[in-house]
Amino acid sequence: MIKKYGIKQLSIFLENRKGRLLEVTEALRDASINIRALALAESAEFGILRLVVNNPEKARSVLSSSGFTLKEQDVFAVEVADEPGGFYNVVRILTENDINVDYTYAFVGDSKRAVLIFKVPSDMLDKALETLVQGGITLVEPMFFYD
């Protein structure tokens, strides 16, 4: 399941310092990497930028050689109807199966469908994917994000 539905996400450690976000995005642009989905978490002193890109391998090596601290992890994406209760259905299934959500963020889809990205503890990932498929949720394959 992980092989089929696992999506490589890059987390980048950023200090809260002027121009830092610019430098990340600039490095990605220079390498012609397209950001498909992103989320920025922040504390008082630092932040973590999480990205799903069209070419994770390349993005990783570009950012790494630019001196950024980063971590690559598997996340998964689901497709839900863009209407009340869409997000709820996914969260309900995960909760009923005692799967804790580390964090989640949205990919902007078209007006009818929404794509949501989820990070769960890595030892829970397989179980999460199985229970969601059993629950009739549509999982999005990595090819949707990658080139």
Binding site: R20, S43, I48, T69
Partner: protein, 404 residues
């Protein structure tokens, strides 16, 4: 005493070789490392049942430096602290507000016993709780303040902010200030703010604690050389330097029992003078400490070695991340920050995990260094970028930059 016997035997030194103070220069030195190597009680010369007090300071890496006192040593300590107090005729009727930290440090209890010895009333307030301290100082009518100079200035500034009139509301006539260097600007600021006579206190726990030397009202530091023989040496060669020349201060205790120490290298840089003082004393005068012969830092009166910081980092993560120690002022007090680079080995994806790492590091630093350290997680290369070159310690404190 096996330690000294071995040292002396190695050099072929016999008791007969030591006939006068002149012969001291032929004896080997003792260092902080020797104390560490014999942790905890290896350099004590009396049986433990004669030891009545044990103090300890944080060591350079992991192990603390331990010192012990017999009842006789406590008597010596009280005596030299009483002499310190007598520099301002402190005695019955005086209220001594003692804001040195009580506990393992020798500062708090050293001043406490000295003030009691001369018959003054002691208020053992210890550090922290600035506003409460001011309330007690005012309401108890404190006449003498004992603290680090920076804390005394902090008290003055908070008092002003709280609406006190320092000279009307307080009766402080003398301040006994030590444990950290103080610029002339800081001394004047304290004199002006409190209207007090500034008395400098000098000491180190390895020798006895505070009371090794004391300032007089004329501003000269008098070494109590009947108990502690001072020498100044060339840090490189170990040669004794003549009076008037700058070098490393070395002490030999004359009267101590539990932990007598021969030619202890303080790493403090100073100059000795042997000429009578205007106050009438003829004992050796040492100048205020000008600096250190090692990388020891003094943060709000507490001694900190950079190696201790590294020790905590290594202990916690099993790796040594790149780090920089940044010393700065927050108001008048010192603030110590450790900037730790988050690299691929330490980076956990999650704000919570990083905050936990930061908190854990701060707690461990407090355990190891005995002071509050602020840990800041930074990106790799930040340190070089912001500091120019690879430096481990950035000291931004400006001794003179104090508002009075």
């Amino acid at each position: 005493m096996p330690f000294y016997k071995k040292r002396f035997d190695e050099l072929g030194l016999k008791p007969a070789h030591v006939k006068s103070v002149e012969d001291l220069k032929n004896l080997p030195f003792t260092t902080k490392q020797d104390l560490r190597d014999h942790y905890p009680f290896g350099l004590f010369t009396t049986p433990m049942d004669q030891v009545v007090r044990i103090h300890s300071s944080s060591g350079t890496t992991g192990k603390p430096t331990v010192v012990g006192y017999t009842a006789h040593d406590m008597g010596v300590w009280k005596e030299v602290m009483a002499r310190t107090m007598s520099m301002m005729n402190v005695g019955p009727g005086d209220v001594v507000h003692n804001a040195y930290g009580y506990g393992l440090f020798t500062g708090g209890l050293g001043f406490h016993y000295g003030a009691e010895e001369v018959g003054a009333a002691v208020v053992p307030s210890s550090g922290g709780f600035t506003k409460r301290q001011l309330l007690l100082m005012k309401d108890f009518g404190a006449t003498v303040l004992c603290s680090t100079p920076s804390f005394a200035l902090h008290l003055a500034e908070v008092a002003k902010d709280e609406g006190y009139d320092l000279k009307k509301d307080f009766k402080i006539r003398a301040g006994f200030f030590g444990a950290e260097p103080a610029s002339e600007g800081l001394r004047n600021a304290l004199r002006d703010a409190w209207g007090l006579v500034y008395i400098e206190a000098y000491g180190l726990s390895e020798i006895i604690g505070p009371g090794v030397a004391s300032g007089c009202p004329y501003g000269n530091l008098h070494v109590f050389e009947d108990h502690f023989i001072p020498e100044v040496i060339d840090t490189e060669t170990g040669e004794v330097l003549p009076d008037g020349q700058e070098g490393e201060l070395v002490f030999t205790t004359v009267t101590k029992q539990a932990l007598p120490i021969i030619r202890y290298r303080t790493k403090d840089i100073t100059v000795l003078h042997r000429e009578p003082c205007k106050c009438g004393r003829t004992i050796t005068i040492m100048e205020s400490v000008k600096g250190r012969a090692d990388d020891m830092l003094i943060v709000n009166g507490v001694n900190v070695f950079p190696s201790q910081v590294e020790h905590v980092l290594t202990k916690l993560e099993g790796i040594t991340p790149n780090y920089v120690i940044v010393l700065d002022k927050k108001g008048v007090l010192d603030k110590l920050e450790v900037w730790v680079e988050v690299d691929d080995r330490t980076f956990a994806d999650g704000i919570g995990a990083l905050e936990t790492l930061k908190t854990k590091l701060q707690q461990e630093m407090l355990n190891e260094l005995y002071i509050n350290v602020r840990v800041k997680l930074v990106e790799p290369k930040t340190l070089e970028r912001s500091m120019g070159k690879a430096k481990r310690i950035i000291d931004k404190r400006e001794a003179e930059g104090l508002k009075s």
